[in-house]
């Protein structure tokens, strides 16, 4: 990776971190609804997507709600989404970022289908899907990955193993030693990486994307870390998690860790850190201003996009 790439990756991590931290505050101010915190998941999200080209597709879960930021999607779009405002609904084809998937794992077959469909058309384009450790227990995960494997589709499946599904620990989710072990059942490579090491995540994703592009089919990447924030703003983990362990995890969080690496490599100065942070904060400030300026939606939108060609009695109620 070039210096500018290393710094761009840093910029993306900071942007994601800033989005996340500002969103939690914005939620506390009562301006957005429940919000799924992704604090300390930035290395996975920025690292894995850094291996993609712009014509590759990203399939996020709610945990990767802001991942469009790495493609230049306006932060206000994502804020609007969490605010239940229609301006939060985007065109996937504009960013090659699918809609945020709320139900667990059901977007895995979508990614498989997109990747396979691109291949059938002879078009380039890799699909990268993100999901959690809990998601690997769902039938949709299994069916989607199997299908991608059988079709030799250019797909990369990134499992964010933060070791919790809300209050359910990984031991109650699987008996497998690693989630990467599941890859063998689909006849595809499975890789396990440190989910707080952005360069390790990137490297695993780069290899997977290269393999996919070269016609080698899908890869399952397990990025391991430990959830160091509540599941979402509505969640109180004190009932089920060891808060001391969480504090420990927070101490070696991923953005600071990458920052140290860049500093040690002589690539990052205090000024640069400050300016990257300021840019991200400015962006968020502007986004929040845009959100605040947006008019409340017209209730007519109930009907506008339900169908392309709506049935006449749709409005009866």
């Amino acid at each position: 990776m070039s210096e500018s790439e290393l710094l761009e990756l840093y910029r993306r991590m900071v942007l994601l971190r800033t989005y996340d931290e500002r969103s939690v505050v914005y939620h506390r101010q009562g301006r957005i609804g429940t919000y799924a915190i992704f604090w300390n998941h930035e290395a996975i999200q920025a690292g894995a997507t850094f291996a993609l080209d712009d014509d590759d597709w990203i399939f996020p879960s709610y945990r990767e709600s802001a991942i469009g930021l790495v493609r230049g999607m306006p932060a206000e779009t994502i804020l609007h989404w969490w605010r239940g405002h229609p301006s939060g609904w985007w065109n996937p084809a504009e960013w090659n970022v699918a809609s945020i998937c709320v139900p667990i794992a059901t977007h895995v077959p979508h990614a498989a289908g997109l990747a396979w469909g691109k291949k059938l058309r002879g078009e380039s384009g890799v699909a990268m899907a993100f999901f959690g450790d809990g998601a690997t227990s769902e039938g949709a995960f299994h069916e989607g990955v199997n299908l991608a494997a059988v079709m030799n589709a250019p797909a990369v499946f990134v499992c964010n193993n933060n070791q919790w599904a809300i209050s359910t620990p990984i031991e109650a989710q699987t008996r497998a030693e690693t989630l990467a072990d599941k890859a063998a059942g689909y006849g595809i490579p499975g890789v396990r990486v440190d989910g707080l090491d952005v360069l390790a995540v990137y490297e695993a994703a780069r290899e997977a994307v290269e393999r996919a592009r070269a016609g080698g089919g899908p890869t399952l990447i397990e990025a391991v870390h430990y959830r160091a924030a509540p599941h979402a703003t509505a969640d109180d983990p004190s009932a089920y998690i060891d808060l001391a362990r969480v504090d420990e995890e927070r101490a070696h969080e991923c953005v600071g860790r990458y920052e140290s690496f860049l500093r040690d490599a002589g690539l990052l100065t205090d000024e640069l850190v400050a300016s990257v942070r300021k840019d991200a904060e400015d962006l968020m400030r502007a986004a929040i201003a845009a959100v605040e300026a947006e008019a409340p939606p017209d209730p007519e939108l109930l009907f506008t996009h339900a169908y392309v060609d709506p049935p006449p009695n749709m409005r009866n109620g």
């Binding site: 609904w89 699918a98 077959p109 289908g113 396979w116 299908l147 339900a306 049935p311």
Partner: protein, 323 residues
């Protein structure tokens, strides 16, 4: 015009639409090498290649989910579910994604998926090969549903579904797959969604049905010939629903019997009855009757003829109305 069976007409529609539009592809279990367990997809793999008619792994939810992704890549997938009851694993994808994704993109992306499946009873099959699941599908917002009863409609509605910009589910009445025969227009043939068909004109009682229950109603009308003049309305399209044709018939006859195979509770007959109770109450000269499957599991086939609405049960309902 060629004389075809209903399942041949389905096959004809698929051949025609795949030839017409390179973006249409067919996927399902056993649709390729075998040409479908009812041969609805026969010849497609040979003619269009294994990338246009694809044998999928045995995973209905995965298959329908993949179809969502295929749409994002510009395809128009036609998904076969092998039998009615084997579509249930895919209901989650249908309800949470297929019917909502267009809306979710603010109307910017289309999901022109067609799902087709043989449905209904009467074929002496093991359990779970006989269900009439249309309620599960038509209740899901964002979805359209059509059910042909004749070969010409089977071709025309399927072609309309494939060309429709919204997701459409076509239920094909397997009981008459090979016994319903009729003239089918050659080449491109479209029957627009949302228009009911007056299968037979009548003055005294309106029989409302779809799928394999249309011929049952026609036979009941024959049997009642000396007693009452029955109009038979073939709904054809459950969503969009042609309320006007129904209401016009009810306005004329004042008496209604609705017939379907699905269990009664919240079957589609309930919706038709509710529409009539709202919009035609002062036209009615008697209660709105339903002749339907019972609210019990579809039975073993030695007694299925007592479950599926019969000519006798329909006739009895009519006689009750005209008594």
């Amino acid at each position: 015009m060629a004389e075809l069976t209903l399942v041949e007409a389905v096959n004809d529609a698929l051949h025609t639409e795949l030839a017409r539009d390179d973006n249409v592809l067919v996927l399902g279990e056993d649709v390729g090498r075998a040409g479908g367990v009812f041969r609805a997809t026969a010849g497609l793999r040979d003619r269009f290649g294994p990338d246009r008619c694809i044998d999928m792994p045995l995973a209905e939810a995965g298959m329908l989910g993949a179809a969502v992704g295929l749409c994002m890549a510009g395809w128009r997938p036609v998904v076969e579910m092998q039998y009615d009851a084997f579509s249930y694993p895919a209901l989650d994808q249908l309800i949470t994604h297929v019917g909502r994704y267009h809306w979710r993109t603010g109307g910017r992306m289309q999901f022109p998926i067609t799902i087709r499946m043989p449905y209904g009873g009467g074929v002496r099959a093991p359990e779970l090969h006989d269900d009439s699941p249309e309620t599960y599908y038509v209740h899901a917002s964002g979805i359209k549903v059509a059910i042909p009863s004749t070969p010409a409609d089977a071709k025309g509605l399927l072609a309309a579904a494939i060309r429709d910009p919204d997701p459409v589910v076509i239920f094909e009445p397997k009981f008459v797959y090979r016994t319903a025969r009729g003239e089918v227009p050659e080449g491109e043939h479209i029957v627009p969604l949302g228009r009911a068909r007056i299968a037979r004109e009548g003055a005294d009682v309106t029989l409302i049905a779809y799928g394999a229950m249309v011929p049952v109603c026609e036979r009941a009308a024959d049997e009642l010939a000396g007693e009452a003049s029955c109009e038979v309305v073939d709904i054809r399209s459950l969503r969009p629903l042609d309320e006007e044709t129904i209401l016009a018939s009810v306005a004329k006859t004042g008496r209604v019997v609705i017939v379907h195979e699905a269990p009664r509770t919240v079957g589609f007959g309930a919706e038709i009855a509710a529409i009539i109770a709202e919009r035609a109450i002062f036209d009615l000269q008697g209660p709105v009757l339903r002749v339907t499957g019972f609210d019990v599991p579809y039975p073993y086939w030695t007694i299925e003829d007592s479950y599926v609405p019969s000519v006798e049960r329909v006739a009895a309902a009519v006689r009750k109305l005209i008594a």
